[in-house]
């Protein structure tokens, strides 16, 4: 409905005094809490839209549509406008812009709109208005009045009493939130709830049962006419095409053979303060053990053998006088699956040509399962001593180049496995030629070539300490003259030997 100037003047009580400044008309519309459109008869005409006295849009008739202006202002991009606007005829409806495109920054859009409105309102407020055209309850075709006020908002003025509560409303503590019935049949499909538990084989093949209302799917009591809406469409499916229960051998649940599992190892944490915390499981122990390099200032971990845990895991164990790690020796050398369980570190057999796969002590050898730091230290010292002895003997033989096998030569102690920085491990074993010293490697070219073929074991290659991994890449490649080791390693060995026999 459109009203003439006189009617509009009557509406605001300004009929006898036109022309009026624009701000007078705006104030009158605000005082009357006008809702609708006012068209100010100026050049160009200005359309001002009110919602209960508040201006939510003001635009000149010559201006482009609001969406275009927002894109030009940078508050939106063209794609957002295209997806967010609903085109109804020639009008782009922006009322659901933010719901359709959540990526839009609502604050920026609203702020930009307010700035445009302020500019237009400020301009028209300063004009002399000869006539106005009012259309009550006519909102802008873009629908942006939905941006500012929802349908549930209650219009309150200062001093107004609070609205009466909804009859069903109650304090949160007294009544749990009641499920809201779904009133829109278009969205009331009984889609399976995402939070519902996954159907099992039995439930999937079971006969369909009537759907029951639940908290996730709050439906009203189904009636005979609309039962199709409230029932789950999945339940309407028949089991045609599905095999009968038990007919598919792959689908028949069968019991797996029992796995022989021993008593699990117990995991302990030793904090820097000396406190021992054993409230951890074995799985966590393994994970922590593999990452212990990153926990320099943290606790020390250890795994207590299940066989020992049954007796006593006290730190005063006679096999562990220092009360420390029983597997520290192998903490860097036990993650290889070919080595067996964690407590079976790779060891070298003294036969040299026998078991080179690093099979560790078994549960039948409990005396080998408790490796203390004392043993580590002893082994380190033994290694150093033997290397130093070999170095001393090597100095005595500097004049000779006869490196033939001699029975009195020392056996290279070496290490059984070394860890690289990667996850790939290389096991260093021992060949049959044990009558060598580590310092003989400096003159490898003069030694008889007796490199054995590498023995692969489950992804790990046992290589000769002389040839290292070169034998794997090219077993027949001749050795180069000069020190095979890195010169720095060789120099360091000399330095250690010199210090030892200073």
């Amino acid at each position: 409905m459109s009203l003439g100037p006189e009617s509009a003047a009557d509406l605001f009580g300004l009929a006898a005094d036109f022309p009026h400044p624009g701000w007078v008309v705006l104030d009158a519309a605000r005082d009357h809490r006008f809702t609708g459109e006012l068209v100010f008869d100026v050049t160009p005409p200005v359309h001002v839209y009110f919602d209960r006295g508040e201006v939510y849009l003001a635009e000149r008739s010559t201006e482009p549509p609001l969406g275009t202006r927002l894109v030009d202002a940078g508050a939106l991009n063209a794609a957002q406008l295209e997806h967010g606007a609903m085109q109804i005829g020639d009008t782009a409806h922006l009322g659901r812009l933010f719901e359709r495109v959540p990526s839009i920054d609502r604050d920026i859009v609203v702020l930009m709109t307010e700035m445009m409105n302020d500019e237009s309102v400020a301009w028209v407020a300063a004009q002399d208005i000869g006539a106005i055209t009012s259309t009550p309850y006519l909102h802008h075709s873009s629908g942006i009045h939905r941006w500012h006020r929802s349908v549930d908002d209650v219009d309150l003025r200062p001093g107004d009493p609070l609205p009466a509560p909804v009859p069903t409303a109650a304090p949160y503590d007294a009544v749990p939130p009641a499920p809201q019935p779904v009133t829109d049949p278009l969205v009331a499909w009984g889609e399976p709830a995402r939070n519902a538990p996954a159907p099992t084989h039995a439930t999937a093949c079971a006969r369909p049962v009537p759907n029951e209302p639940s908290a996730e799917q709050p439906f009203e009591e189904p009636g005979p006419a609309d039962s199709i809406l409230e029932s789950d469409w999945v339940d309407r499916l028949e089991t045609h095409g599905l095999p009968e229960m038990g007919s598919d051998p792959l689908a028949v649940p069968s019991a797996l053979p029992a796995m022989a599992t021993g008593q699990p190892d117990r995991f302990e944490l030793i904090w820097p303060s000396g406190e021992i915390d054993d409230q951890f499981d074995a799985g966590a122990a393994l994970d922590h053990l593999h990452e212990r390099d990153h926990d320099r200032a943290g606790p020390t971990a250890r795994v207590v053998r299940a066989t020992d845990a049954g007796s006593d895991h006290d730190d005063t164990n006679t096999d562990d006088p220092d009360g420390d790690d029983p597997v520290d020796l192998w903490d860097f050398e036990t993650t290889s699956p070919s080595f067996g369980p964690l407590d079976e570190p790779p060891t070298r057999t003294d036969s040299g040509g026998g078991d080179q796969t690093g099979s560790g002590p078994t549960s039948n050898e409990p005396h080998l399962t408790m490796i203390t730091d004392n043993a580590v230290q002893s082994m380190r010292h033994a290694v150093a001593s033997m290397e130093a002895d070999a170095f001393a003997g090597r100095l005595d033989d500097t004049s000779t180049t006869d490196y033939s096998v001699r029975p009195d030569d020392l056996v290279l102690p070496g290490r059984v496995a070394t860890r690289t920085e990667s996850s790939v491990w290389c096991l260093r074993g021992f060949d049959n030629d044990t009558n060598r010293s580590v310092f003989d490697e400096t003159t490898a070219s003069s030694r008889p070539a007796a490199a054995p073929a590498p023995v692969p074991t489950n992804g790990h290659t046992v290589a000769s300490p002389r040839t290292g991994t070169d034998a794997v890449a090219d077993p027949g490649a001749p050795e180069e003259a000069g020190p095979r080791e890195a010169p720095r390693v060789w120099a360091l060995r000399r330095l250690i030997g010199g210090l030892r026999f200073r």
Partner: protein
């Protein structure tokens, strides 16, 4: 008379000897060094004077060298000792560059220094990725030394050695332990990594 130019050693290893005040760092270097130790000891003052008469304020420096047949030193070990007082910790930051290993000396009987020593060691090792040997001075029990090292923050893989640094042999043992740790690190880094193709070839060859 022109100064005699000493030829540069082919291989140089640098050890950093650090630890709290009056732990035995200077004694360790003096026991190992072949050359007169360059030291910056001055008379101790304050409460430190009650512990010992002189203290290092800047650094200790000692060397150990191996000579080839021509008499030239081809392998040289440099030992750098740091001051123990907290106010001189900046010297540790200066000297810690390019070290091959750290010898952290701690006095087992000076328990009042352990908390600060642990913080200093963890702070130092947070910056350095080098082997460390914890030398527990005035201690005879390896178990006690290990436990003390753990309390200071050392890993189980890092050596803890009981020692009596007043004895030269014990000091050399500590130094050798540090060099063994360096050797261990060098050997690990020298291992080649087998790629899956090489594994397959090796398996096929064995079959």
């Amino acid at each position: 008379m022109p100064a005699q130019v000493i030829p540069r050693a082919e291989h140089v290893f640098k050890l950093l000897v650090t630890g709290p005040f009056a732990a035995g760092k200077t004694s360790l270097i003096q026991a190992v060094s072949q050359t007169p130790v360059v030291e910056t000891d001055v008379d101790a003052s304050g409460c430190e004077a009650a512990v010992k008469a002189r203290t290092t304020v800047a650094m200790d420096f000692g060397t150990y060298a191996l000579h080839d047949d021509a008499g030239n030193s081809d392998v040289r070990l440099l030992l750098f000792g740091t001051p123990g007082q907290r106010r001189f910790w900046f010297m540790t930051d200066i000297m810690k560059g390019d070290v091959d290993a750290v010898v952290f000396v701690v006095d087992a009987e000076a328990e009042d220094t352990h908390a600060e020593a642990g913080a200093a060691m963890r702070s130092l090792l947070a910056d350095l990725r080098v082997p460390v040997v914890v030398a527990v001075n005035r201690c005879d029990d390896p178990g006690d030394a290990t436990l003390m090292a753990r309390q200071l923050g050392a890993l189980a893989s890092e050596a803890a050695l009981p020692c009596q640094l007043i004895d030269g042999n014990s000091a050399r043992e500590v130094t050798i332990e540090a060099l063994l740790a360096v050797l261990d690190r060098l050997e690990r880094s020298d291992i080649e990594v087998l790629d899956p193709l090489e594994r397959v070839v090796a398996l096929a060859g064995a079959a």
